[in-house]
């Protein structure tokens, strides 16, 4: 071995062959595979709502989905994307207070969404719509539940970012820790628009 290699304390820095940040690209690819998971659930939805014989959708046994409540909930979730964007813009401009308030608001809005969603489940179950009652019920709970699970994961990420922002982390130069979970949260929001449109509106 050459003397030079003995003194190595780490790998030589890799050449950056793309302007895209690796973590950003990784998150985008992860989101593509997430979209495909939703795609499979939408396939199930499509088959049960459209393809199967005697296909029908809500209202089932006189129980309809609470479109009004869900619309308000949609507005809550979408506004959390705005507050998140505000937080991200703030840290880019070096405004730490904006980051903290923005992250906190985003987290609270997301948590409210999840709370309303769980409430909706309880009401529907009380009216006799359960995953076990019909295939339509199965698809409804599976699709919204899959999305809810993503919201829960997103909230965990947001909680970490919020805590770290209150500890004074992140600078205008170093804020990938806000950006990358932010992409995930925006994805969760956009996915909800698709879920909401197909399940409640159409």
């Amino acid at each position: 071995m050459e003397a030079a290699s003995v003194h190595h304390h780490g790998p030589p820095a890799a050449n950056r062959s793309s302007r895209v940040h690796p973590a950003l690209l990784g998150m985008l690819l992860f989101i593509i595979s997430e979209v495909m998971v939703f795609g499979a659930f939408f396939t199930a939805y499509f088959f049960i709502r459209v393809v199967v014989e005697n296909a029908h959708w809500f209202p089932i046994d006189g129980v309809d989905l609470p479109v009004g409540v869900a619309s308000v909930n949609t507005a809550i979730l979408l506004s959390s994307s705005l507050t998140l964007h505000w937080a991200q813009t703030s840290i880019k401009n070096g405004n730490h207070t904006g980051l903290k308030v923005g992250m906190l608001l985003t987290f609270l809005l997301g948590a409210t969404f999840l709370f309303v969603q769980v409430n909706e489940y309880i009401v529907l179950t009380g009216e006799g719509i359960t995953p076990q009652s019909s295939a339509q019920g199965s698809v409804f709970f599976a699709l919204t539940g899959l999305h809810g699970a993503h919201v829960a994961v997103g909230l965990t990420l947001l909680a970490i970012v919020t805590l770290r922002s209150f500890r004074g982390h992140y600078t205008p130069e170093e804020h990938d820790g806000v950006e990358v979970p932010g992409i995930y949260w925006h994805f969760v929001d956009i996915m909800w628009v698709v879920v909401f449109t197909t399940v409640y509106i159409l």
């Binding site: 050449n15 793309s18 690209l25 595979s33 019909s134």
Partner: protein
């Protein structure tokens, strides 16, 4: 003792696995209203199988860094103590070195090859003669199901990931993968998935027996062993998605200076295409098994026709993954063959760009053919026609590859050593498997041979004669690089010829048996098929023995083979320009790529040089400005 349980490693992993079992029980206990008698064994198994791999990985230390980072505690500085291997024990811990992970992958998946192969031996013993010999029909169903699942999900897919893990960063001039810790997680998910699938043999009612396709509603009503497939696939799938993501980011962001996309070796192109397929398609198989699990465990109605569910939906979702999966199991092999044929023929790859584009064409077309697996399923019959056409169209990019390989060898100076023999064996066998594939794409023919041994013959010509031959070729080709030792050439050739001959005696007659109507997936058959089946069984045992030669050659050569030089094949690609095995961080300096990867036979051709881009471009007579900028360094 306590310090053992606190430090990452096997003690903590065992401890946390036990904790996960207790936790699973406690969750069910709480969910059942704190009634211990209401907790069922199957319920416990479902929760525990989902939970234990995560706790095991956590105990082993796979998530330590992330937990430290997330909780804001100081992360250990990158001292690279997790890098490299100095003893065999380093292969049994969380290791972030792509070279160590590559070997972990390859060795683990070959272990599963022998497990799956032994099951095939048992099946052939049962099928040697009509009537019942060794196993009852139920156990036979379990054997072929686990055989296929293990070999697909735990051998062919991961072994390619393992080989690429080892050579791909070297090939593109990167010091490691883009996400080394994620890489370690993807590997360690694999043994977990393997343990889960093997556990199914201990389940009441036997192992899962619904075939590797696990069609609903059979899989929804099957005995509890089924959940081992349902859950095992989740972890194998998560592992392969994480690896694919890692490959894509590595290829896109970490290429050496000068390594443009069209200077990448075709193995890199192949893994790029494969990773696209994995990222897009694999979530579908995870979802299909999730539906089954929800139906089984929580009484959902996805596949319950009485409640408005649709069983055919399962097949659509499943094959939307599992057809691209056959390309996931084939494209990396295409890459290996391109490397070996160019090096061993001493000629540039013919039609390099078309080779790369045809890979991408296969990726795109691969998503438009899934329903050709469902011609007799009772779906809307009109779907069959477009699926037949697209399936036949895939023969075009595949044909481009075959003819380009032939043209690569044309008037080359062929060196017929073991990797080359396996590459040539692959070419011939894969063409045969491809031709029977085009036959099967034709609706009338497919209806005629559906669920016969013709299908078994086709899939084995493609996956054994195709994928496995490329795997053997790749393992022999990179064995000197991975171990620093040469394998025994005589034993390698013996291995090839035994494999090649007995492979054909085993699987070629199955075409005839299928045309005569012998049904697959049945433990018994009528007297008229007895002669051929006896011949097949005897040949298959010889085929099984040939793999022992391979095993001996690998183990003995690794321990006491001749020392390998850095570049025993006189190859141009970057992995051969470093020592065998490569230094711990691959390169002391990131190389600069100045030419194509396959300029064999071109006098003075160089692919990469170990200089900074500025010096390298100065040598290539770039403008004088580049030279003066070097002078400042």
């Amino acid at each position: 003792m306590i310090s053992h349980l606190r430090a990452p490693g096997w003690y903590r992993a065992t401890f946390w696995t036990l904790v996960s079992l207790g936790l699973s029980w406690a969750i069910l206990w709480a969910a059942n209203g704190f009634d211990a008698d209401a907790v069922t064994g199957i319920g416990f198994a479902q929760v525990a199988l989902l939970a234990f791999p995560l706790f095991f990985l956590g105990g082993l230390g796979a998530f330590d860094y992330w937990f430290y980072w997330a909780s804001g505690r100081p992360t250990r500085p990158e001292d690279h103590s997790g890098h490299g291997a100095t003893s065999w024990q380093d292969y049994f811990r969380i290791n972030t070195d792509h070279k160590v992970i590559g070997i972990q992958y390859v060795v683990t998946s070959f272990f599963f090859m022998f497990v799956g192969g032994l099951m095939a031996m048992l099946m052939r013993a049962e099928l040697a003669a009509p009537g019942r010999q060794f196993v009852d029909p139920g156990a036979f169903n379990g054997l072929f199901s686990v055989h296929a699942s293990v070999l697909i999900f735990l051998f062919i897919i991961p072994v390619f990931a393992g080989l690429a893990n080892y050579v791909l960063p070297l090939m593109i001039g990167a010091p490691d993968m883009a996400f080394p810790r994620l890489n370690a997680v993807s590997f360690w998910l694999l043994p977990c998935a393997g343990v889960i699938m093997m556990l199914s043999f201990f389940a009441p009612g036997g192992s899962f027996a619904s075939g590797w396709t696990a069609y609903a509603p059979l899989s929804v009503t099957a005995p509890p062993g089924q959940i081992c497939f349902t859950i095992g696939v989740q972890f194998a799938g998560a592992s392969s998605i994480a690896t694919a993501l890692n490959f894509l980011v590595t290829i896109i962001t970490m290429r050496a200076p000068g390594m443009s996309f069209f200077r990448m070796p075709l193995l890199v192109w192949a893994n790029f295409s494969t990773s696209l397929l994995v990222v897009i398609a694999t979530p579908f198989v995870a979802a299909s098994q999730l539906f089954v699990l929800l139906d089984r465990a929580l009484g959902f109605n996805f596949f319950n026709a009485a409640a408005g569910g649709d069983v055919l939906m399962y097949q659509h979702v499943f094959w939307f993954y599992s057809h691209p999966a056959v390309y996931i199991m084939m494209l990396p092999g295409f890459g290996i063959i391109s490397e070996i044929l160019a090096v061993k023929s001493r000629k540039p790859v013919f039609g390099y760009r078309m080779m790369a584009f045809s890979l991408l064409a296969i990726v795109v077309l691969g998503f438009a053919v899934w329903a050709h697996h469902m011609f007799v399923s009772g779906m809307q019959s009109w779907i069959r026609v477009p699926m037949m056409v697209t399936t036949a169209v895939i023969a075009v990019p595949t044909g481009i590859k075959i003819f380009s390989w032939l043209a690569t060898m044309w008037r080359g100076v062929l060196k017929l050593d073991t990797p080359m023999l396996f590459a040539l064996g692959f070419l011939t066998m894969f063409v045969l498997g491809g031709i029977s594939g085009v036959m099967l794409a034709m609706i009338p023919f497919d209806i005629y041979v559906s669920d016969t041994y013709f299908i078994v013959a086709h899939i084995h010509y493609v996956l054994f004669g195709g994928s496995l031959f490329t795997i053997f070729a790749g393992v022999y080709y990179w064995f000197p690089k991975m171990t620093g030792r040469m394998y025994n050439e005589k034993l390698g050739k013996l291995h090839f010829w035994m494999t090649f001959v007995f492979f054909n005696i085993t699987f070629a007659p199955m075409h005839l048996l299928g045309l005569q109507g012998m049904p697959r997936r049945v433990a018994d058959y009528s007297e008229q098929f007895a002669t051929w089946n006896m011949i097949i069984s005897v040949a298959s045992f010889a085929l099984g023995l040939s793999s022992l030669i391979f095993l001996y050659n690998m183990v003995a050569s690794w321990r006491g083979g001749k020392r390998a030089p850095a570049n025993p094949w006189n190859a141009l690609t970057l992995e051969w320009q470093v020592s065998s095995p490569p230094p711990i961080f691959n390169f002391d300096h990131i190389p600069t790529v100045v030419g194509g990867p396959y300029e064999y036979g071109v006098p003075g051709a160089v692919h990469g040089v170990f200089e900074s881009p500025a010096t390298a471009s100065a040598e290539a007579r770039q403008p004088a400005g580049a030279v003066s900028s070097t002078a400042k360094e």
